[in-house]
Structure formats: structure tokens, C-alpha cells
């Protein structure tokens, strides 16, 4: 325990670690959280060409968006949708844009997916259906959603057999009508902030943890450590624990900051909305809170898995620079090459730590393994951490063997 405490202290004492954590926190919580809520993302806009043209009034705007969404009732019914469209059209007629801009994007998505036949090709802006569609024709929302989902599965090649049955069974557990509230705040949290968390953590985890083992050669302390009684193997275990603790601490810091900013700006309203209000054709019977928990768990487990991979790479080489490059390549290499690979390989690469996406809960992707269809989020959350845990004993072993090189 004492050795762990000292090793952990050693890690945090490094200037590079402190700067990395500070930068990561600033980027994720300050830039991607507080400033995004208050300015870039939700500040009222008079200059649509740049988020920097927004006003610094996100907090007040969010309150007005939430109040407006709440005015349509607690559930998303045909009547509620019709009222939303009517309000958008009335505001537009009066030249008011910003007050409905937020719900407009959500409604626009519903209409284009569920009522494509209402699109007027002769209209100057045919895709902006919410401005001209006859609201009275917006009926049978849930019947149309079911049909659109089945059509989507068919187009995805998931339209028959066991896979279709599995996905539709999941969808069958989604409560209807949907609880409804202000969607875009959750969309920002689940689709932007949290979706990028793993990608950013990968960079900083690599910078901080790549020298864990290789750094001992770099700082020329390896010969000294080798002659100690506790020696190599015990130290290796402590280094691994310290690295894992750091990954968890970094995650906790970012998560705490992110959740605090979210609570201040968005509050808890809408936590029980199904994710289908955000992505109509999602099949997972999850509400926003569950989706957020999943995405945080995805980032945490991915970070732990990535830590294991970085530890192994650090133990394999004696150069800090090489360890860092390999660690970065382990996360960003697969992301870069994925688009050039067949779909099956792309999916497989997504199972590597911090390479896949937590937003797969909004999709219908599956893995077909040993004749069974498995919904991709189940594997995307478990396999990366397993990969990392498998790497750890090899890292310890490799580091231990180096002693007599």
C-alpha cells in the first residue's frame, strides 16, 4: 500500500501529468462544457457563420427552450407534434426565429423521417417541412415510426430472421407515447460531449501513462530498481495499479466536472425521456439517464482498457517517445484506417479500447458471433476492458523479464 501511495504520488508529481490533466479538464469541462452551454452551443445567435458569434446567454436561453418544450405536455403525441409545428409556423410568420429554433431542429427530424410524402418538391426550401406542412396531416406518429423502423432495418440488411426479431423485441419494450421535454440539451450531452470523451481521454492517458515503464529506462533508474528486494514484479504491479488509479481519477475529474456543468445548465429535466425522442429509429429501451450512465461507463471501461494497452506498450519498449507513439497509434490508428476497411473489420476495430463509440446505443448494429446476434453496445462496453485486463499480466511479465536483458 505504501509503495502504491509513493508510486501514485510520483506519477502526480510530474509537471507533464499536471499540465495534461489541467488541459484535459479545461478542454472537456470548461471549453466543451461550461462555455458550450453558456456560449457556443446554446447562446442566442445573430451570426450563424460562427459559434463565436453567439451571445453569452446560454443559461437564460436553455431555460426558455425548456419552458417552451414543457408547454407541449409531458408526452409526445400527434396533438403535441401538431402544436409544435403550428407554433413554428406562426413564429416564422411573425419573423421570430430564435425562440423556436431549438425545437425546430428536433421537429424537422421527426417530419423528414416519418412524413416524407409531405415534402413539397416545389417549395423554395423543400427540406424545411416544418415551415409549410399542414399540421393537421401529422397523425399516427407511432405507427409511422414502427413502419420507418422496419423499413430502415430492411435497408440495413437486418430485415429478416433472428436479428430483426431481436431488434424489434428491444423496440417493443420502448414505452409509448414518449415522455417529452427539451431534447437538444440531452442531444448535446449524449451525442457531443460524452461521445468525444473517450477520444480526448485517449490522448491524455497516452501522454501520461506511456512513460510508466519505459520512463524507468529513460530516467536511468531501472538498474537501481532491479537490485531492490521488492524489485521488479512487485513494482510492476504497483505501476499498473497506479496507472489504473490515474485513469479512474482522470475520468472521475472529467465526469464530475461534466455532470456539475450539466446540472447547473440543464438541470435534471427530461432524464426520463426515451432516447427515441432524440433518435427516432433507436431500438434500445433506454431513457436519457440510462443512456448517460452507459456512455460514462463506456468511457470509464474504455479508459481502463486503454490503460492496460498503454502499460503493455510501455513495458515492451525502452523509449518514451516510441511508447507514446505506439500508444497514440493504438487509439487513433484504427480510427484513421477504419473507413478504408470492410464493414466487418470496421466493427471489429470498434472493440478496441476507446476506438469504438458509446453512441452505438442509438443504432441497430449487431455482432454475429457463434450463430448469435449480439447488440453492439454490449460488446463495445465489455470487450475493451477485457483487452486491457489481458494486456496487464503481459506488461508485468515483459517488464519483469527485462531485468536480465
Amino acid at each position: 500500500m505504501e509503495l502504491f501511495r509513493l508510486e501514485h504520488k510520483k506519477l502526480w508529481r510530474k509537471t507533464s501529468v499536471r499540465i495534461s490533466v489541467l488541459l484535459c479538464f479545461a478542454y472537456v469541462v470548461i471549453f466543451g462544457g461550461v462555455l458550450s452551454y453558456q456560449w457556443f452551443e446554446f447562446g442566442s445567435s445573430h451570426d450563424v457563420t460562427s459559434a463565436f458569434g453567439n451571445n453569452f446567454d446560454g443559461y437564460a436561453m436553455i431555460r426558455s427552450y425548456q419552458a417552451r418544450a414543457d408547454s407541449y405536455g409531458a408526452y409526445l403525441t400527434d396533438g403535441a407534434l401538431q402544436r409544435m409545428v403550428r407554433d413554428i409556423q406562426q413564429d416564422n410568420d411573425r419573423g421570430i426565429y430564435w425562440q423556436n429554433a431549438d425545437s425546430r431542429s428536433t421537429v424537422s427530424g421527426y417530419l423528414s423521417q416519418l412524413y416524407p410524402e409531405l415534402e413539397d418538391a416545389d417549395n423554395a426550401y423543400p427540406t424545411l417541412m416544418e415551415y409549410y406542412v399542414d399540421s393537421a396531416r401529422l397523425t399516427d406518429f407511432y405507427g409511422r415510426r414502427q413502419a420507418a423502423l422496419e423499413q430502415f432495418l430492411h435497408l440495413q440488411g437486418q430485415g429478416t430472421g433472428e436479428e430483426r426479431a431481436m431488434l424489434l423485441a428491444m423496440n417493443g419494450k420502448v414505452d409509448e407515447p414518449f415522455r417529452y421535454g427539451w431534447v437538444r440539451g440531452w442531444q448535446f450531452v449524449l451525442g457531443n460531449s460524452l461521445a468525444d470523451l473517450g477520444v480526448i481521454m485517449a490522448l491524455f492517458l497516452a501522454v501520461v501513462l506511456a512513460p510508466t515503464f519505459s520512463g524507468e529506462w529513460h530516467s536511468n533508474t531501472a538498474p537501481l530498481l532491479l537490485t531492490t528486494d521488492g524489485g521488479w514484479r512487485r513494482l510492476a504491479r504497483v505501476k499498473v495499479l497506479s496507472g489504473l488509479a490515474f485513469a479512474i481519477e482522470l475520468f472521475a475529474l472529467l465526469a464530475a466536472g461534466g455532470v456539475a456543468a450539466q446540472l447547473v445548465y440543464l438541470g435534471t429535466a427530461g432524464w426520463d425521456m426515451p432516447i427515441q425522442t432524440m433518435k427516432l429509429l433507436a431500438v434500445a429501451p433506454m431513457n436519457m439517464l440510462q443512456a448517460e450512465i452507459y456512455e460514462y461507463a463506456f468511457a470509464l471501461l474504455g479508459a481502463i482498457g486503454f490503460t492496460g494497452v498503454v502499460m503493455l506498450l510501455s513495458a515492451l519498449v525502452k523509449s518514451n517517445v516510441l511508447a507514446l507513439l505506439l500508444s497514440l497509434a493504438a487509439a487513433y490508428g484504427p480510427m484513421m484506417i477504419a473507413q478504408y476497411l470492410p464493414y466487418g473489420l470496421q466493427s471489429a476495430l470498434g472493440l478496441l479500447p476507446l476506438v469504438g463509440s458509446g453512441t452505438d446505443i442509438f443504432r441497430t448494429n449487431t455482432f454475429h458471433i457463434f450463430g448469435k446476434y449480439i447488440w453492439s453496445p454490449y460488446l463495445l462496453i465489455t470487450v475493451p476492458v477485457l483487452i486491457g485486463l489481458i494486456c496487464i499480466p503481459f506488461a508485468v511479465m515483459k517488464w519483469s523479464r527485462r531485468q536480465r536483458a
Binding site: E7, K14, S219, T227, D229, G231, L235, R404
Partner: protein, 288 residues
């Protein structure tokens, strides 16, 4: 208590770093002397068990050290050449870290660290970060860490490098005092350090021991090979080119040369009393 090694050999590819060296070391101070690349560090690393010999074995009290593992490391203290440390740790934290790695009992660690920092003259700097330390201060921290577990075998690779003359004398006294019933092996280029404290000198060249013995005994081997010759200043350079000159001292317009040579270098040359440094130059004159 003895540390012995038998035909210890290390090859790096086709290069022989240490070539079948054998010795049995009992308590005392052993000075490992040799030019750069003579094999001193390689030998020390093999004695510490951190470098696998190509062939040969190391024994501690008759038992092969690889088999002893942690039991051998428990009695070992090692200061590597170019000792590395963690710059963001304070001296006390660094020593605590090594103490824990060495498995020192928790209740004695802080007391031992205070004692050692006192011993190496760093008590006032215990709370300062190592990155602020001079080379000599870091070296003293290195020596303190090697002594943490009160080792029976203390192996110091170039312990006096980076130390100023006062610190060197202090370290020499410390080691001489420490040795007692322990085995202390130190390597150095600084012949006077070895001369001052080594009970026995092991001189290495090209991976082999070329000389071994107590200092006076070895110095005697250089008798009749050290000469003093006074020449005009203009001819001094020519002498330097054709003989091993240990010293060069101006006296008015003439120069007194201390020459190492098997033969009397000139009719005016007078024999002088040899030192360990003369012996070293006798063997390593060209490399020096």
C-alpha cells in the same frame, strides 16, 4: 561471508566485455580500477544480478545468486553509474520509495532516512526536490539509497564522480568506516580514491584482471619504472610524444617530467618513489 565469481564472462555480440574473471571477495574495500570500456560496469552489473552473464557464475556465501533471488538483493546495495532519480520527488520521498522497494520495515524507514541524510550531509535538503540538486548532491542521495538496507555487499559504480574534493574525502572516510565486516566494491577512474581506501585493488583491462593485490604490494611493482627528468622547456613536448609522462612541472625555464618507463629514459633521469597513479599509467598509459 564471501562473494565469489567464477570465470564470469559477458559477450555483446562479437565483443567481449568481461572475459572469464574469477575472484573471491571477503569483507573489505575493493577498488576496481580500469580505463573506460575495461569492463568494470559490466562486471558490477553481473555481480548485482541485473545483467545475465554469458557464462560463469556469482556466488554469495557459496550459493549461486540467481537462485537466491530476493535473499541476495536483501544484502545488496548498489549505486549505478550515472545514477538516475525522479526529479519531482524530494530527497526524503525518493529514499522512502527505495526503502519500500527494498522491503525495509515501515517503522524504521523514516529514522533510517534521517540517519543517512545526516551521513551524506543532506539533512537540510531532505524536503527539496531532486531536480534542484547539483550533480554532487544527487550522487550523495544515490549513495544514501545504496546504504538504506545496511547492505553486506555494497557495490558503487563511480561513486565519486560529480563530487567536489571535500565531498570525495567525506565519502572515502564514510566507506572506509562502513566497510568493517562488509564487502565494499567501488569502481573509479580516480586512482587516489582507490589508493586512499581500498584494501585490495582489482585492475581491469580489456575485460580481464591484469593486477590484483593490496595497494602497497601493487605499488611496489612499479618500482624502477618511475623517473624524474629535468629538461629545457623547449624539449618537453618531444618527451611527451615519446614517453608516458605522469606529471609536468615548470621550474624556471626548465621542466621537470615524471616519466613512466621500463628503462631509464635518459642519463639525467633519477628514479622516484612510485604511486598507484604511476602504476595505473604504466598499464594504461596509451589509453590515458
Amino acid at each position: 561471508m564471501d562473494l565469489s565469481f567464477d570465470r564470469l564472462t559477458k559477450h555483446y555480440g562479437g565483443k567481449i566485455a568481461v572475459d572469464r574473471v574469477s575472484a573471491t571477495l571477503t569483507p573489505g574495500v575493493y577498488g576496481l580500477l580500469g580505463a573506460n570500456g575495461a569492463g568494470k560496469t559490466t562486471l558490477m552489473r553481473m555481480l548485482c544480478g541485473i545483467l545475465e552473464p554469458t557464462s560463469g557464475e556469482v556466488f554469495w556465501d557459496g550459493k549461486e545468486v540467481t537462485g537466491l533471488g530476493a535473499a541476495y538483493r536483501n544484502v545488496l546495495g548498489y549505486l549505478p553509474q550515472d545514477f538516475g532519480c525522479y526529479p519531482h520527488y524530494t530527497a526524503a520521498e525518493f529514499l522512502s520509495y527505495i526503502a519500500v522497494l527494498k522491503g525495509l520495515p515501515r517503522d524504521t524507514v523514516q529514522r533510517r532516512i534521517r540517519e543517512l541524510l545526516d551521513t551524506v550531509g543532506l539533512r537540510g535538503a531532505a524536503g527539496k526536490k531532486l531536480r534542484t540538486f547539483s550533480g554532487g548532491m544527487k550522487q550523495r542521495v544515490g549513495i544514501a539509497q545504496a546504504l538504506l538496507n545496511d547492505p553486506q555487499v555494497l557495490i558503487l559504480d563511480e561513486p565519486t564522480s560529480g563530487l567536489d574534493p571535500k565531498e570525495r574525502v567525506h565519502l572515502r572516510n564514510l566507506l572506509a568506516d562502513y566497510a568493517g565486516d562488509r564487502i565494499v566494491i567501488l569502481s573509479t577512474h580516480i586512482v587516489s580514491d582507490v589508493e586512499a581506501i581500498a584494501d585490495e585493488v582489482l585492475m581491469m583491462k580489456a575485460g580481464s584482471f591484469i593486477l590484483r593485490g593490496a595497494v602497497p604490494e601493487l605499488v611496489r611493482q612499479a618500482e624502477g619504472k618511475v623517473w624524474e627528468l629535468t629538461v629545457p622547456a623547449a624539449r618537453a613536448r618531444a618527451w611527451q610524444a615519446r614517453a608516458t609522462v605522469a606529471n609536468f612541472r615548470h621550474e624556471g625555464d626548465r621542466v621537470v617530467l615524471r616519466i613512466i618507463s621500463d628503462e631509464r629514459p635518459g642519463s639525467q633521469a633519477v628514479p622516484c618513489r612510485p604511486t598507484m597513479e604511476d602504476l595505473y599509467l604504466y598499464h594504461f598509459g596509451e589509453e590515458a
